[in-house]
Symmetry: C2
Subunit: 257 residues, 2 copies
């Protein structure tokens, strides 16, 4: 969708964002079946594992390098967490006209996403502080899938901003020229829409987090859920939506360069 | 669970297998949002990408190598798809007593799983034969997550077989000594249980594949589902359960070595 300039509409973007909610919730449910596993994120002493940084950092950076070789970051929808360390793609770039303004490439809030993820999200969603040594790689894979899903969703703000600018250029232009972040943020905030998103993701968390059994009694008597719906609502309210709007503002501020 | 010999029971194994159904269905739903992307699996001519084998093969093998370094295959629950190419782990192996008989390591049906996956499952579940060049890496990541989930589930047969043997040694021993595969297969097949599994995974596919909306009318009038529940039932019936039982038989045949 996003590679075809003409089809880019607020409706198609909205459909993609709604579908991405499912991806985020599936990946969240999969990650939090493991404990936090603090050792994974601790800086390794050089003597122990002979890598620099944490095991998680090592795995994530190497995974990105591998994905970069097969062209992951040629897509305007993908943004690397370690942009300085990427090898070139062996796949040639697509010949389509880019959808986004060239300045879009400079907009990358992954450092913030990673920081929030480790410091706030994991402790909020994982109840158990324990290590799961046997599953270091499996746990880190789930982290990476979830972080990539969050990053994709949040950086979709570039497409949102592009279409909002295209459809209301007259409203956005003076605010961009004045570099008025607050006014831009206000112009692209729709509280009623955000309320709907928060309710919908809570409902999705409830539906996807159910323990589905064939016995109807089981569903009513002692229902256990894999993720707390109110936390998923909070995830969107406090982190995903504000960071998306930050991406929108950053994109708009560069839109006239 | 599986690392603690004493706690290993048919009940705990059953709980894990049921939870793994959710993982498989989530990963399946995520993979089939992309088309088949045939180019990903085609053998690359050496001139074009300077790799041997397909892009997918390259990505999967390199991903396994990376995971191996952080100890993925030290876990008895994980089985590599490319066992001959694995670098050593930088994490030391756990000091717990192994749960499985040492011969368990020789039981690996991943080659079959990969073959079935590419030739039968992808064409069955993905409606669109198209390429999605922009998402080669993302699509392959979903493949790898799904294949690892399928492999984990199927090789859980080793734990199932271990407990069945422990609980009914007298029944299994003569059949193992006689190398009677057919009788072993019969002894560990419970058709009523398999019927329940098939029904439950279809229900899960239905629940997790819903398009969840806040509008109640939307749910009834034109419901769209992300995956066909009857195909998920078939996935278990024709591939997952038979391959699990194959793993059980192979494990049992080596159990007295």
């Amino acid at each position: 969708m996003a590679s075809d300039n003409n089809k880019l509409s607020l409706d198609s973007i909205r459909d993609s964002l709604i579908r991405q909610e499912d991806t985020i919730i599936f990946n969240l449910i999969e990650r939090i079946k493991y404990p936090i596993t603090p050792t994974l994120y601790k800086e390794a002493s050089s003597s122990s594992w002979n890598i620099s940084g944490s095991l998680f950092h090592y795995l994530f950076q190497e995974t990105e390098a591998l994905h970069s070789k097969v062209g992951r970051y040629l897509s305007a929808e993908e943004n690397p967490f370690f942009p300085d360390k990427l090898p070139a793609s062996i796949i040639p770039p697509s010949k389509c006209t880019p959808v986004l303004h060239p300045a879009a490439e400079c907009v990358n809030v992954n450092e913030k996403i990673l920081d929030v993820y480790k410091k706030q999200l994991l402790p909020l969603f994982c109840t158990d502080q324990a290590d799961d040594e046997e599953n270091f790689a499996t746990t880190a894979s789930c982290d990476i899938q979830l972080l990539q899903a969050l990053s994709r969703r949040i950086h979709y703000g570039k497409f949102v901003a592009k279409v909002k600018f295209r459809d209301c250029t007259d409203q956005y232009k003076p605010l961009i020229l004045a570099k008025d972040r607050d006014a831009l943020m206000k112009l692209l905030t729709f509280e009623a829409v955000e309320e709907v998103v928060k309710k919908r993701v809570a409902k999705k968390a409830f539906v996807f987090g159910q323990q589905v059994t064939l016995n109807i009694d089981d569903n009513t008597k002692e229902a256990k859920y894999k993720v707390d719906p109110s936390l998923v609502s909070r995830l969107y309210d406090e982190w995903i939506m504000p960071l998306t709007k930050l991406v929108e503002v950053e994109y708009l501020l560069r839109r006239l360069d």
